[in-house]
């Protein structure tokens, strides 16, 4: 088993397609998305109204790509969109996939 990073992004669902494109372009080989609701600085975001859902995007990738993604998200979206990003280490089998 090898160590990788798991980057988790929670943000507005309207960004789904953009972020999916972003993470692949920045070097990740995949991503997983789940629907979410939540609350933060920018107020309540609940899934009962189309414009205001959250998504939770997870990307397993190696260290440098994780840093690129985090950096890019912060620069591109932090100012104008509801978003948090966090990262931690995970172990995977078949590390060549990621």
């Amino acid at each position: 088993m090898e160590k990788k990073k798991l980057v988790t992004i929670v943000t507005e669902s309207i960004l789904e397609k953009k972020i999916a494109k972003d993470v692949l372009r920045l070097g990740a080989h995949g991503y997983t998305i789940t629907e979410a609701s939540g609350q933060g600085e920018r107020g309540m975001r609940s899934s009962d109204w189309e414009q205001s859902r959250n998504i939770r995007v997870e990307v397993v990738c190696d260290n440098t790509i994780a840093e690129t993604i985090i950096e890019y998200m912060a620069q591109t979206y932090y100012e104008d969109y509801a978003m948090i990003v966090f990262v931690h280490e995970v172990e995977v089998v078949r590390p060549e996939k990621f």
Binding site: E12, I14, Q51, D80
Partner: protein, 319 residues
């Protein structure tokens, strides 16, 4: 007026509003909200398309042109009001202006059932005007925002998709085409769903819209008094212009009440999605609260009868 408030469609809206204000845990599942809105847009389109099949296309050109003009001018009127009088920043002003130029298909459906209940005739092709009015205002809002602020690079491909292939426009056009191609006879077997159940589905949908509006109303404190006033007065101004334009374009009384209501209505599906992408620095709380929390209920409860009354006066003078 009272008569309008006792229509089940309006009563359902009131019940949803009340549930939201009382913080009842009632809510329609999101999938249902989505499917009823798909259904309503499709049904509006179908009905319009079947009517269109009976209409001489040449007759539509003038009203369509007038409507495009309307869609371009309302944001140009709203922007300086918001910017100068309301002291909103450029992005917010442009985004809100785009919402008020664009339209609400549900408000359109309500004015149709309103006129049908009162047996006031209107041009069959008004659905075409609904489609035509939805887009220019959004484009104009984006244009204003681009000229005034210059921060983000817009992903125009994505934006184009959101606006022109976004589901509301696509479904209206698809419905129009299907209705028009199939025509009145072949459409019969699908009428029990798309026509006979239309008003009840609208009522059911308005229950949920009431809940949504109520959540927005609880944000009223955060938007300030100016925007509340704007959310009531701007529709009236737009309705006056719409009525005049309708009159000049030669529409019947019913047709110009529809056009006035379209002008008065503010978008809350197509415009927010487009603005969030094109003008992300604008604060969504402002435009959603104004559009959904103020203008939408105002139009349903009081606006439509008011625009009817305005139109009746103009037409009795003119006629």
């Amino acid at each position: 007026m009272i008569e309008n408030l006792l229509d089940p469609v309006i009563l359902f809206f009131a019940m949803g509003l009340l549930a939201g204000l009382l913080k009842s845990d009632l809510r329609l599942p999101e999938a249902i909200y989505e499917v009823i809105s798909i259904f309503l847009l499709m049904a509006i389109g179908l009905k319009g398309g079947v009517q269109l099949a009976k209409t001489n296309i040449a007759l539509i050109l003038l009203p369509v042109g007038v409507t495009v003009l309307l869609g371009l001018s309302i944001p140009l009127i709203a922007y300086p009001i918001l910017r100068k009088l309301g002291k909103f920043n450029e992005a917010d002003s442009a985004a809100i202006a785009a919402h008020y130029g664009s339209v609400s298909a549900v408000t359109f459906a309500v004015v149709q059932t309103y006129l049908e209940r009162l047996l006031v005739a209107y041009e069959e092709y008004v659905t075409v005007l609904l489609v035509v009015l939805e887009i220019p205002a959004i484009a104009m809002g984006i244009l204003i925002a681009r000229m005034k602020t210059r921060k983000h690079t817009i992903d125009y491909g994505l934006l184009f998709h959101e606006v022109f292939l976004g589901k509301s426009i696509y479904l209206l056009i698809a419905g129009l085409l299907v209705g028009w191609a199939a025509g009145p006879e072949r459409i019969e077997p699908v009428a029990p769903l798309f026509f006979d159940l239309f008003k009840a589905a609208l009522a059911f949908f308005l229950l949920e819209m009431g809940l949504v509006a109520a959540r927005r109303i609880s944000d009223l404190r955060r938007v300030g008094l100016f925007l509340i006033g704007f959310g009531i007065l701007m529709p009236i101004v737009s309705a006056v212009i719409g009525t005049l334009f309708g009159y000049l374009a030669g529409l019947s009384l019913g047709g110009s009440v529809v056009l006035a209501t379209l002008s008065a209505s503010a978008s809350y599906i197509a415009a927010p999605a487009a603005m969030r992408i094109a003008v992300p620095q604008a604060n969504p709380t402002l435009y959603l609260t104004a559009s959904l929390g103020i203008t939408f209920p105002f139009n349903l409860l009081f606006g439509i009868p008011l625009y009817h009354w305005m139109g009746a006066i103009l037409y009795s003078m003119g006629g």
